[in-house]
Amino acid sequence: MADRAQPLNLAVWAGGLAAGVILALTLGTITAVLTRAEGAFALAAGDLAAIRFTVTQAVLSAVLSCALAVPVARALARRRFVGRAVLVTLMGAPFILPVIVAVLGLVMVFGRAGWVSTALGTLGLPPMNIYGLHGVVLAHVFFNLPLATRLILQGWLAIPAERFRLAATLDMAPRDIARQLEWPMLRATLPGAFMVIFLICTTSFAVALALGGGPRATTVELAIYQAFRFDFDLSRAAFLALIQLAISAVAALLALWVAVPQATGGGLDRTVERWDAARLGLRVLDGASIMLAGLFLLLPLLAIALRGLPEIATLPAGVWAAAWRSVWVAGLSVLVTLALALSMTLAITRLGAAQWGFATPTPPASICPKKKPEREGFPTWPVAIRRRCAVARGIEAVGYLAMAASPLVIGTGLFLIVFPFADPVTLALPVTALVNGVMALPFALRALVPAAQEVEARFGPLADSLGLTGWHRLRRLTLPRLRRPLGFAAALAGALSMGDLGVIALFADPEAGTLPLLLYRLMGSYRMDQAAGVALVLLALSLAVFWVLDRGGRVDADH
């Protein structure tokens, strides 16, 4: 009964539909742009350099973000201290900042006239130079270290408390715990985190340019920008957008292929107590990790806050209206993200779960086979299963595509699609909410898919034996167990949407802008001080949205 020939239920169709929406938004918009293109496209000489630079900086940024996130996540996972929850939330802030604010925050701390350089100056040392490839990577690590930390931290917290209890009973050394419990978790978590960060960094443009120090730091997105507004060469813009998608698709497939899902087994979902981490050396190590990461992430935020605080009183009246619009755009984005992510997650899990049943000897994981099972002495997986697994992996990969799509091309494509039927300006806010929601999908999937597969692996057999299926299974088993990643996904989607300029810049209505748009407009009108005030409001609002939604997923949980 390896293949129980389950009918492809509602969840699978919903997941397929969600994938369709994303394909329409990515490939559909590129097609829309292509239909308006005249003439053939050709890569310019600089394009190869742009592709090379894009991939290089994205790989470096993703590797470094993940590598640094491991000790930070481990420290946060095994330490309890006052203000830990606040710190975890605050440390997530860089990720949700508008690009222009983050760049100025970084510059105020690490720039030539920044705090670090000033401190170096008093010691008689030359100022720090952050402009160059290392500056780009520094900025991207600043943005993405919080995300990597959160994704990995979730992996840590998902290790059942019984394991650590058992390890303590067996008197296992930290090294053994790392090998037996933590490494398998990292092996399952890191490729996904790497991929998501790689994808974010491939579409980077303003950050890469500002901190890259010059045209050497030309990314594919900048080349698209140039093709669009400098040459009005739509075919080249669309072609470059396809290249950008291809780079990301390769990265996504690689990561999904490399990731070895965990096949842990059940626990009772208790709070983790870490007896092994009491040693002094480990305490110092953890303390240092948290402190350094905290300083790196919080100092620029502090700079932004200090810069903006005196300006709060002088803010223009439009700020609060814009803030309100931002909040409801964020709310809509959350709904979009959750609807898409949940249906895709359930579809992926459902398709993957098709392979096991009581008669399946092993492996028990509800996850598609990675290696040819013959090698492990199993009969070949039936074709139906392999097909289902391919579909599951396909749906997941599509979920990551949106992130890799050029925002400019999506916006332009949507504009071309909407324009014949309606005034794009009146649709600016809903369209922005939709695109923002889709953009947050990869993070939501990263948080939800492993958790859902874990639930299926741990509780699936029990639920099956109880005949718990369909809606009841979702409500009684899956949703409660997914509460934390769901809260996290909603929080990220909401906060990201708050802080992101998104496609609204292309559709903008002069009287109905969002907060980030207002911020850009203030800066464009010399009002840098007021812009700093708005940046602080935006930062506070994004954090509040993040905090509320993330907490919502963790009520009555200890972490």
């Binding site: 222009i100 720039g111 303003a206 340019l209 010059g214 407009r521």
Partner: protein
């Protein structure tokens, strides 16, 4: 709730249209903000036109033209306001613009103006802005030889960035690559837009920033801060002339021309200096606001004729990329 409002406007649309014609003006974003010229211009024009003037903001000048090209002849725009002379040749070639019927206007521009399609409404010189008291190099060569740091914008994504590219090209011709090589070690960084680099300059990241000779006027008039000044270069300064034109497919051709006429009148022109922070194309009767007299006024105005700007731009971009990618 939020949808009911646009819906109401949509339903009320035909009723409104019967009493008042609507004139739709596409312009760049900063024109229509509450600090830009937009609100004052709207009030003043609506007081005399018996129409409803609606501004639509679309990025900056280059994004504006791209938007119009995307929409083609089906566009709602009656007037496009905010292109500059670097874009007018490409804009004219699209065939989307009509000739105006303003006749001869006595413009106060540093150069002679003859164009039957595009009407200037303001202008300014590109310049490096620095803190008063800082070293002031006399030209690009001196700047290249100095230790001064500058932040500039990328010509591919920013209007002033493109202005600098053409400035160097117009002033130095074939020697432009050499100038850029000289400047390479002075450039702290190149940003996507003007806002990032101006913000970086104000935070002290560089000694000078590429902006306009009129930028210090903002600090002086709006902030009563006299510490910013433009640095005069002896090879002359590149001129940006901002223009508007009637869209050929407009069904409000007459009203659109009325708007252009209004645009070169005192009511519009007197708003420009302290909202758009540029020089008015026709100096209003009351003259320029106090503070503008303290600005640097270049001896030589450099500008490529509209027909040559496109070709010069492509050559100059190649040279710029080569010189700075080393």
């Amino acid at each position: 709730m939020k949808y009911t409002l646009p819906l109401a406007v949509l339903l009320a649309g035909p009723a409104l249209a019967q009493d008042k014609p609507v004139l739709t003006v596409y312009t760049y974003d900063s024109f229509v903000t509450e600090w830009g010229p937009g609100p004052a211009v709207e009030t003043a024009f609506e007081a005399i036109c018996g129409c409803d003037l609606q501004f639509v903001g679309a990025g900056d000048g280059a994004a504006l033209l791209a938007r119009l090209r995307l929409e083609g002849a089906r566009t709602n725009a009656d007037v496009v306001l905010g292109l500059d002379t670097n874009l007018t040749a490409a804009a004219a070639a699209t065939g989307l613009f009509a000739r105006h019927d303003l006749g001869d206007v006595a413009f106060d521009l540093p150069v002679a103006w003859q164009d039957d399609m595009f009407v200037p409404y303001d202008w300014g010189y590109f310049a490096f802005v620095h803190n008063v008291g800082g070293d002031a190099p006399a030209n690009f060569r001196a700047l290249g030889d100095s230790d001064l740091t500058i932040v500039i914008q990328d010509p591919r994504s920013s209007t002033p960035g493109l202005g600098l590219l053409l400035w160097v090209k117009a002033a130095h011709g074939d020697a432009a690559p050499e100038i850029w090589q000289g400047l390479a070690d002075n450039i702290v960084t190149v940003t996507k837009g003007w806002s990032e680099s101006y913000g970086m300059f104000l935070e002290g990241e560089a000694d000078m920033v590429l902006s306009y000779t009129t930028s210090p006027a903002y600090h002086l008039i709006a902030e009563e801060d006299a510490t910013k000044a433009a640095v005069p270069f002896d090879e002359g300064h590149y001129l940006q002339i901002e223009v508007a034109a009637v869209v050929a497919s407009s069904d409000q051709g007459e009203l659109a021309n009325d708007f252009l006429r209004f645009m070169v009148s005192d009511a519009f022109q007197s708003v420009i200096p302290t909202t758009n922070w540029m020089y008015p194309a026709v100096t209003p009767e009351g003259g320029l606001p106090a503070g503008f007299d303290s600005l640097v006024t270049p001896e030589t105005a450099l500008i490529f004729p509209a027909g040559e700007a496109g070709a010069a731009r492509d050559v100059a971009l190649g040279e710029w990329l080569t010189a700075l990618s080393r």
